[in-house]
Structures are given as structure tokens and as C-alpha cells.
Symmetry: C2
Subunit: 150 residues, 2 copies
């Protein structure tokens, strides 16, 4: 659906303006679509991202500091995000023995299972995208985003 119809606005001051609006709109759309997937499990996109990063560190644990570095949306508040994951028993915290300023975060079996469960709906979403846009167009879009940011 063209952006003009999506937000019921027929004219833009320029193609730049239209692109910027469209980018915000599409970013929100993407976030909302993914939230639908996570919602049944009482997770937010950030929780999912963090959980995957923690899994990615297997076989070792990982510190909040290191999580922050690779996070798409750099959350200022990893402590409470991990609090929530810990409360849901998806991760566990231990004091790092070699550096007591650090916490060793690792994923639990329950956390691994949840990621397994989420795998299918996430792939279904990707398949849905694949029906709309070719892989070349996707690569092209990604390059244009890089260009845009300068």
C-alpha cells in the first residue's frame, strides 16, 4: 500500500519529505508486526534481541556492557531489562569471578526453549516479506538506507 493511502495524506513537499515519513511509518509498522509475535509471550522486541545476543555468546556468559555494544536499539537501562528476563527465568545472573564489577549473564534452558518457539513465527514473517519484495530489491533497499544515513 502506497504511503499516501496508508496515512491519508495526498501530497508531500518533496520526495525527501515523503521518504522520511515513509521511513518512520514503515519502522513503526515493522515494530508493531513483530510485537504481535512477541506479545503472547509477554516480551518486547528488545527482550527478544537481548535474549538472542545472550544465546549468541554460548558457550560463555556475557556482560551487560557487551550486550549493549551489539544492540540495535542501545537501551540505557539493561539492568531492568535483564531483571525482567531473570524474573521470567529466561536468563540467570552470576557475579563474574575475575572481575567483580561485572555480571555474567547466561541463558537458561527455558530461555533457549522460548527462542526455539519464536523461531517459526519469525521465519513466517520473513516468508511474508519475501512474497512482497525480491532479494535484489531488499539488498537495494538496504544500500539506500546506508546511503541515506551518510
Amino acid at each position: 500500500m502506497k504511503i499516501e493511502n496508508a496515512i491519508k495524506q495526498s501530497s508531500f513537499t518533496s520526495n525527501y519529505h515523503k521518504m522520511l515519513i515513509n521511513l518512520m511509518y514503515t519502522g513503526n509498522w515493522l515494530r508493531d508486526e513483530q510485537m504481535k509475535i512477541f506479545k503472547q509471550h509477554d516480551l518486547l522486541p528488545q527482550h527478544f534481541n537481548v535474549l538472542r545476543i545472550i544465546r549468541g555468546s554460548i558457550p560463555g556468559p556475557i556482560a551487560p556492557k557487551e550486550i549493549k555494544e551489539v544492540l540495535i536499539d542501545k537501551a540505557g537501562d539493561l539492568t531492568r531489562l535483564i531483571d525482567k528476563l531473570e524474573k521470567k527465568e529466561l536468563v540467570k545472573r552470576n557475579l563474574c569471578p575475575s572481575n567483580r564489577r561485572k555480571m555474567d549473564i547466561s541463558i537458561t534452558d527455558k530461555g533457549l526453549q522460548l527462542l526455539e518457539v519464536l523461531n517459526e513465527p519469525m521465519e513466517a514473517f520473513t516468508r511474508r516479506i519475501q512474497q512482497n519484495i525480491t532479494e535484489d530489491q531488499a539488498a537495494n533497499l538496504s544500500d539506500l538506507l546506508d546511503t541515506l544515513r551518510g
Copy 2:
């Protein structure tokens, strides 16, 4: 800057995956850049959008219902958003005389002035974008976003 460097991740499972990550990253980037502009005035992007929509209804007032229809990020909570704008004396509320379920929202002189002040930094941002990407590329990008959403 290529997305690979921006998030320090060198490989993606596919161009689709890379595009989706890039889209979220760029959406957040755009939000953050705009927030820098609004921050000095203690506004959020949504406040700015709503304020412009209210100005757009001049010479008449506008109801929350109508604002919601054209909003990019459809906020469920317009009441409190307008509360905040009213507290800052940027808009005023009146009961609609013809339909007392509705509120007539209109922008104040102070609100108009603020939009004037924000005009320049907003245009500066657009100029910055223009240096990175041509208008044709922008139109192309916007079309690809439409295609992606299906």
C-alpha cells in the same frame, strides 16, 4: 556508513534479514536525530506531529478523533498527549458547541511560534539528508518501502 559497521555485525543470514535489521536501525536513527531537535523544547516527535496537525486544521479547530486518523504513529493516548501540550500553553481545548462529546483543539500563538522556531532546524536536517541521497534515490527508497509492506 554500512549497517555491518554500524552494529558491528559482519554477516546476515540473507539480504532480507540485513534489510530488516537496517530498517529498524535506520528508523531508530531517524527518531534519535529528530529527538535531538525537539529536546531543547521538551517535546517528543509525537508532540511535534500532533502540533503540526492541529496547525493544519486552521482556520478551524480539530478533534482528537480526527488527529488520530492522520497520525503516523497512532497513539492510543491522545488525551494525555494533549494534556501536556495544553499545560505548555501550546494548544487550547474547548468543548465543541455542536457536539458535546467532542473537544475542539486549537493551536495558540505560542504554539505557532514554537513551530516557527522548529522550522529552521527541521529544514537543516532535510538539507543534511539531501547531501547524502538524491531526490530520485529518495523516491526509489520510498517506493521500495511501499513494496515491502505489501
